[in-house]
Symmetry: C2
Subunit: 191 residues, 2 copies
DNA sequence: GTCTATAAGTGGATAGAC
DNA sequence: GTCTATCCACTTATAGAC
């Protein structure tokens, strides 16, 4: 009923955000995709920003659920690689919302959304633990500040290289992910 | 006179595109920054897309001019590294237009703009030659298709990691560029 | 809660005088 | 070529009936 409908709304928002981004997505489209009137949407979510925030909260929840499935016994660098693989798979599946990274009304709305911020903090803490562990065991470059590693991993979720390579039409999704994983962890230089 | 004014227009467009992106930039803002009426703008450029295309053509010209300054005697991998460094410096200086990479009216306008396409092809050809040379001399990972390397380098021009690290406020522009250069060419894994 | 209808505002583009 | 003034399509958001 109520929850199911809001779930359908968030699904539509998530898909449209992945396809066109926040600015190009219109509330009319969301309502049309859900099959309800626009005014009804606003009974569930008070603004377009809140719609996008709800989609981001869901993605963050999906990420945390994925982290829960990982085998805690495996080496930390492997965990990080699996996380990067997952984010790229989500993006290639057309399920990763694409948001403006700066100077937007959406940024302010997101930073004041407790559910989103809490989720982001949780994910960052878990990744941060693996990063420091991987640097301690010598598998990750210790010259890089952990924050730079964290951002580099987050950036895989919106890497335009995935879309470019997909557009080239020469490689499967798995090949694309493997190539970008290679550039991310092994670098362009020959090992 | 005419040329100087159009140059001022393109400069304003370039700055606003770097600051806010194509969709968030309004033609009113461009006119206000140049100090002329909006209708006058449209005497010089027939559409907002053409404004952005002109900015992209200028960036492409700047890139080609930079390529001309490189010492052709140096190893190809060094050339590629210098190109990546340059694109990141331009971005950090707030002079790199940020455009939607897909599904936009702008994409169509750009692909039919001969000056832009020619410039892009020229740059791609020059980078492509260095890429294959670097793979031949063993300095660049030969398992990666050259197109994947090319896109990876292009992506440095719009890498959100630069802005994230700048926002952290802990590092200088030079440090940020060196870190991202390291992750790009050497990878996250320990060497 | 859902709907139709519309308010309120914005942005790209243009008409027409000078 | 530049200006003022305006048009028109579109978008977010809301009012009010059911």
């Amino acid at each position: 009923m109520h929850i199911a409908r809001e779930d359908a709304i968030v699904s539509a928002v998530n898909r449209l955000l992945a396809e066109k981004g926040f600015e190009a997505m219109t509330v009319d489209e969301v309502a049309a995709e859900v099959g309800i009137a626009k005014a009804s949407l606003y009974k569930h979510f008070p603004s377009k920003e809140d719609l996008a925030a709800a989609a981001m909260v869901r993605v963050m929840d999906r990420a945390r659920a994925f982290l829960d499935t990982l085998d805690a016994q495996r080496p930390p660098l492997e965990q990080l690689r699996e996380v990067a693989r997952w984010t790229m798979a989500v993006q290639l599946a057309g399920e990763m919302p694409s948001l403006p990274s700066e100077n937007s009304s959406l940024r302010a709305a997101l930073t004041t959304n407790k559910a989103y911020v809490d989720g982001l903090m949780d994910v960052s803490d878990r990744l941060g633990a693996w990063i420091t562990a991987a640097q301690a065991d010598g598998s990750l470059n210790s010259a890089l500040p952990p924050i730079a590693v964290l951002y580099t991993l987050y950036a895989r979720a919106c890497d335009p290289v995935l879309g470019f390579l997909k557009g080239a039409g020469l490689y499967s999704n798995e090949q694309i992910i493997d190539m970008v994983l290679s550039t991310c962890f092994d670098g362009l230089r020959k090992r």
